[in-house]
Each structure stands twice: as structure tokens, then as C-alpha cells.
Amino acid sequence: MTVWQIIIWIVETGILVYALAIMLAYLMLSIWSAQEMKRYLQNNHEIDYRAILSSPFAPEVSLIAPAYNESLTIVDNIKSLLSIQYAKFEIIIVNDGSKDDSMAKVIEHFELEKVPFAFDQPLSCKPIRGVYKSKSRSYKKLTVVDKENGGKADALNAGINVSSSALVACIDVDCIIEQDAILKMVKPFLYQESKEVIATGGVVRIANNCVVEDGRLIETNLPANLLARFQVLEYIRAFLLGRMGWSRINGLLLISGAFGMFRRDIVIAAGGYNHKTVGEDMELVMRMRKWMTNQKRPYRVAYIPDPLCWTEAPSNNKILGRQRNRWARGTWETLRMHKEIFLNPRFGNMGLVSYPFWFFFEWMAPFIEGLGLLYFLFLVITGSVNWYFFALMLGLVYAFAVFVSMLSIFYEEISFFKYLKRRAFFLMVLTAFIEPFLYHPKVVYWSLRGNFDLWKGKSSWGEMSRTGFVKYQKKT
């Protein structure tokens, strides 16, 4: 064989082996996910969560929500949060140096007054300009922290400093949180026996085109916008298939920044959110896990597959592209920061299974796909394409992708059954068929672009404009 033939053989075999490996990995995740789903549904069959609601043993929870330029929706969002069903909780809104009139609106609507609030500052953050409490007893649970702009991680750290509860729930202020979300998220902490539960993650679902009334989700619908619909399918796959599977083997590396609950003492011991990455949510979980391993304390990161948090998905390519760009940068930054976990048996499944998966099949996948595309173009140019074999390979990958999507839809139907209408089901299946052609290539491009931008030194979040839930249809 010539050198050139050897190179071609390596590329072809490498891509083939990679494809088979990723298929096997997803199949394993599917099996673990099914086992974990069964266990979760069994453990939570007709649970009376009201017992927690009225119990003196329920832990105190601080709901921390950073806000930046949320003038359009902040008052409604805070009202929605105040209606959450839980006895012992406080809401801490952190105004991260907004340039609009968010702060003024909140002060006026909730009758806030600046107070001399004493708190410790174990986590570094930008200077706090003031802490506000309401003069009205109706808003007794609300605390608003006004600080200089420092980014989401910085704002969360400020909120954690101000809180005094044992548990902190870090959320996005513009998400709709289900009324019983706190009750469900708190349960794993109460259930713990030999292993300490240090964090729980919740499922984030897409609220586009859903009926929202007074900050509560009344009716679930699939988005009319195709791009948002692709994301619905993507989120169902990621949460019901991916994270359920990781939770089964205690290998969960990521809790969504939109809704996660943590032990405050462990967050502080681990150092809080990191300002130096845009993937602060994943980075914190990995650091907390590392800290617990180094302390030799058995622990678990739990996961609640119940849809508890609804968010607005980007419905145009520009905003979605920015989001995926940031996610790609955040993934690499986090993996690089914690590279000592890679294949390190000391970290258990996190080191031997989760981290390698994220490295090879999450971070590296766009590069392999890009390489495959370039190789294909090379073959086309040199007239070396075996079109029949190419069609077969494409068919194989496509059939697998469609099967995995269908499996996710199946899991959704047998578990939480949120999309009641038959039409929604058929629409999701149709979306699964067209996603590999119309959506996946964009995701690959944005991931590659994100990594390229990171290499060029980009570190910002980018502007994430929202239309706000007020524009969704209201039930009449």
C-alpha cells in the first residue's frame, strides 16, 4: 500500500469506527435511560408532595435568578416565581447592572426599599450597590440585589452570598417554573441515605406556542416555528435519553443553567460559579463532583425528568447560532479546565465514562463530521465516490438518527405525556425525519464556529434577545 492509500484507509476506518462507537454509546444511554425512567416513575408513583409543603422538616430554599435588561418581563416573571408552592423559600433577584429600567420597575411594583442587609461574601463577585426588601408583607419572600455588571456567573455568586438557605436553586428569570417544581427538586435531598445528594437537575422544555396565563403554563403545544420545533425534539432527546441515562450511572456532568438546585455549602466549598467560562453551569457541577471525590465523600447528582421548567427557545438562526456558539465554547473550556478527570479511575464513572463521552462524542463530533464532509468532497473532486456505498452509509446514519429520535418520543409518551394531541405526535415524528437535513448541519456549523471563535479568543455571552411570554396566546 502507498502512503496515500494508508492515509485514506485510516480516515475511512477512523470515521467508520467513530460512527459505530457513537451508535453504541447512544444505545447504552438508551438502555440506562429506560432503567432510570422505570425507577423514577416507580419511586414517584402518587407521591404526596404536600407532605413536604407543610412540614417543619422541609429545607429552606433560595431561588436565585440573575436579571440583565429584562425590563419587558421582569415584573411578570417575579410574580410567577412568588406563586410557587413551597413554604420555606425566598426569591433573590440579582440585577446584574441592567442598562434599562428593570430595577426601577421592580422597585415601583414591589414597593422595595433599600435595607442594610448583612451577609457574608465567601464567593467573589462585583460590588453590590444595594439590597432591597419590600415594604409590603405580600412580597416578604422577595429580596432584590442590585450590583455592578459582571455576567451570569458573577450574579449567581452574589445571590449565593446573600442567601442563607441550605439549598439554592439557580434559575433563569425568564423561565416558567412549575408550581410544584421546588417540591420535586427537593425530594432527592430528603431521600438521601448513604450518599449525599449535592445537586439536582430539572428538565427544561420549550414553551414557544404554549398557553401561558398569569405566569403559569396552562396548555402545552408544539411550536409553530420549525426551528423551535427542532429544539423541542433535541431537548427531549438530550433530557429524557441523555441525562436520564447519565443519572443512572451517577455520571451526570451537566445541570441546566435554567434550573438546578444545589447544596449551598458544597457550592461555596467548591468555589462557586466560575467567571472565566461561558459554560459555568457544567463547570460548576464538575468542580463540585471533583471536590466531593477529593474529600472522599460518597455523593450523587440527582436528576428529575419531570418537566419543571419551561423556557423560550430561540426562533431565528441568529440567536440560536449565538447560543450554540456559546455552548460549544463552554464545553471546551470546561473540559480543558478539568482535563485531569479524563480516564482517571479515581473519579469513577465521571472519569471513565462521562468525560470521555463528552470529549469524543459531544465536543469532537462536529470535527469528525466536518472531516467526513471534507473527505467526501475530496472523493467527489477526484471522482472516487462509490455512490452506492455512500448512499448506504448515509442511509445507515440517517436510520439510526431517526430511530433515536423516535425512541425519545416514545419515552416522552410513556412517561410525562405532555403533548396530548395526536397531531403533535405526528408532527414530532415528521420533525424527526427532516431534522438531520435541515437542522443538524446548522448545529454542526455553529459548534465548529464556536470552537473557532474560542481559538480566536472570544469570551462573551452574546446578546440573547427575547420576545417575552406576554406575546403568547392567553386563554380566554
Binding site: A51, F57, P116, A118, V429
Partner: protein, 365 residues
């Protein structure tokens, strides 16, 4: 590698893979449609049945305690005839348990009578013995809610089951099924989880006052989590007669138990123990933060002696913020806002000044 994976073999594998995945897709597609159809059908079916059942239950519950036996029997018979199939009986049981938990007096007694007259207890006993894990759990809950005491023999077998869910449910059910509500605490070999505590407390609140046990008997349990639970229950049910037994735990007990004992004595306003608490505070190690905090809070709430305020004042400069804050608050309770200690403390640093302002501000207290 070339010899093993010939072109023909690759083609066959690819075709096989496509056929396999598309077949799996089709199977899951059809199964999902079936599941969805069944779920939607069951939802509508259950809704129709529940409406009919509630209408009949409404007629029964509308009967006053002066109603004749025949009227009651007739109403019960109508309900019985409504629920003939297995799924209907399960829904009936769920409805009855819901009513049982929310009604009192004559209505409550009627609900119980319906449950037993429709032989639902027999069904649930069968499920408890031979059903799936989910059915066993449901059966335990319903039998306990209906106080069907013969179920305790089957239920107690799960108290140390390997399956955590069954253990927890059994421990909760037994509170309502026996004359001795918390005898399971004697048999518990594993730590009591917070979830169990929440649900045990919920069950205990349903008992009549005379059936609430004297929790002091568990203060000597070899299981420290049971001791802590007993202390918490002594607080919750204001068992003042247990104060002396609780006070004995201030010395010669693990730190976790000492801390819980301090909190219990605080809740019961056992101010006679403040001198002992003061002595304990003096010897508490730097690392026993929860105990130190509990003692400072206790002294603040119960002590009136200036000497205690003076001793607590040294904690105003503790390395831990929470300790500093609680020490300031304790001094405020003992000596009031005009305390010299607090005045000096406020001048010490910006944060100290903020702590004192925080304590004085009406919106923060």
C-alpha cells in the same frame, strides 16, 4: 483489516443496519401510537367513571346521620354496582382514600363503610401480598389510610426490605396500622431519612392526641437518627415532661444529638438549662459550628443574665460570619438595642456596623 471487512461485508452490514434501525423505528412508532391511544382512551374513560362515581358519592355523603340504614345501604349498593371491574375498583379506592383524608365526622365514617362494604380491603390485601412494587405501595397507603389493622402483619415484613421504597412506605403505613404508632423506630436498622421524618410526622399529626407516644423512650436508641427524630418530635408535640431526659443529653452524647437537644430545650423554653448551656459553649470545639450556633441562639432566646451576654460577646469576633451574626442577635435579645457590646461592635468594622443595622431594621426582623 482489509481481509476481514471486505466491501461485500460492509455493504451487507450497512443494509442490515438500515433494516434494523428502520424496523425498530417502525416498532416504536406503532407502539407509541398504541400507547398514546390507550392513554387518551383511559383518560376519557376514567373521567367519565369518576364523574359518575362522584355523583353517587355525593348522594351518599348528602345523607345526614339521621338517615335510615336502608337509605345508606341503598346508596352504598349503587356505588358498589358502579365499580365492578378491576380498574374501576382501583379508582374507587383512590377516591375513597381522598375523601377519607379530607372529610370528618359522619361523612368520614360513611366513606370507611363504603370501602369495607365493597370489599376493597380484600383486593388491596391481595395486592400487598402478590402485586408489583407499585401495587404494594398503593395497597399499603390505602390500607393504612382506612386503618385496616390486620394489614400490619403483611406490612411489617417490608420494614427492612432491600427495596428502599417499600421500607419507607411500610414505616409510614405502620404508624396508622398499630396501637403502638412508632414501634418501628425500635426495629429500624438504617438511618432515618428526612423523607421518612416528613411522612412519619404527617402520619402522627393525623392521630388523636392520646395516641401520640411519649418520645422520651427513644432518647436512648442506639440509632442516633432516631434519637434526633425523637428530640424533634418532643419539640413539635410540646412534651414538657421530657425536658429532664433531654437535658441529660447536653453532656455525654454525640455532637449531633447535643445540637438537637439544645434546639429542643430552646423550643420548650427550658431556661433552667442556660447555665449548663453556657458551660457547654465554653468547651465547644472550634469545628462544632452547628452546636456553637445552636447554643448561642438558645442563650439569646432564654437567658436574661448580663454575664451571659458578656460571655457571648467574645463570639462577636468569631471567624465565622453566622456565629458573629447570631452572637450579636443573642446580645440584642438579652440586653436590648442599647447594649454597650453592640455599640462597640458596630464601630469595629463596616460589616459589624451592617450587622447591627440589620438587627435593628424593621423590614429585616
Amino acid at each position: 483489516m482489509e481481509e476481514i471487512l471486505t466491501y461485500e461485508l460492509k455493504v451487507q452490514l450497512a443494509i442490515g443496519g438500515i433494516v434494523t434501525f428502520l424496523s425498530l423505528f417502525l416498532i416504536f412508532f406503532l407502539v407509541t401510537i398504541l400507547v398514546k391511544t390507550i392513554k387518551l382512551y383511559k383518560k376519557k374513560r376514567n373521567l367519565r367513571f369518576t364523574r359518575k362515581l362522584e355523583s353517587r358519592m355525593g348522594q351518599l355523603l348528602a345523607l345526614e346521620d339521621s338517615a335510615s340504614r336502608s337509605q345508606i345501604d341503598q346508596a352504598i349498593q349503587q356505588i358498589r354496582s358502579t365499580a365492578e371491574r378491576g380498574w374501576q375498583k382501583d379508582l374507587l379506592a383512590a377516591t375513597l382514600v381522598h375523601y377519607k383524608r379530607n372529610l370528618s365526622g359522619f361523612a368520614n365514617a360513611l366513606v370507611t363503610e363504603v370501602y369495607f362494604m365493597t370489599l376493597l380491603h380484600h383486593r388491596q390485601m391481595r395486592q400487598l401480598k402478590k402485586g408489583s412494587v407499585t401495587q404494594k405501595i398503593t395497597a399499603m397507603r390505602y390500607l393504612a389510610a382506612m386503618r385496616h389493622h390486620p394489614a400490619w402483619y403483611e406490612t411489617i415484613q417490608y420494614i427492612n426490605d432491600e427495596r428502599r421504597l417499600l421500607r419507607i412506605e411500610a414505616s409510614m403505613a405502620l404508624v396508622l396500622l398499630t396501637e403502638n404508632p412508632l414501634f418501628i423506630l425500635d426495629k429500624l436498622q438504617r438511618p432515618l431519612t428526612n423523607w421518612q421524618k416528613i411522612n412519619l410526622y404527617k402520619q402522627l399529626k393525623q392521630l388523636k392526641k392520646e395516641r401520640i407516644p411519649d418520645f422520651a423512650r427513644w432518647l436512648n436508641s442506639p440509632n442516633p437518627t432516631v434519637v434526633v427524630f425523637a428530640l424533634e418530635m418532643i419539640s413539635r408535640f410540646n412534651q414538657y415532661n421530657a425536658i429532664e431526659a433531654v437535658g441529660a443529653l447536653l453532656t455525654n452524647a454525640p455532637v449531633m444529638i447535643q445540637t438537637a437537644a439544645v434546639r429542643t430545650l430552646t423550643d420548650l423554653e427550658a431556661s433552667q438549662y442556660t447555665p449548663l448551656m453556657m458551660d457547654l459553649l465554653d468547651v465547644t470545639d472550634e469545628g462544632d459550628h452547628p452546636l456553637k450556633k445552636a447554643l448561642i441562639v438558645a442563650l439569646g432566646k432564654m437567658s436574661t443574665e448580663s454575664s451571659h451576654a458578656q460571655s457571648i460577646a467574645r463570639y462577636l469576633h468569631d471567624s465565622d460570619f453566622e456565629i458573629r451574626f447570631e452572637a450579636a442577635r443573642a446580645i440584642q435579645y438579652i440586653e436590648g438595642n442599647e447594649s454597650e457590646f453592640l455599640t462597640v461592635f458596630a464601630r469595629h468594622s463596616e460589616q459589624s456596623s451592617l450587622i447591627t443595622q440589620h438587627l435593628y431594621h424593621p423590614l429585616l426582623n
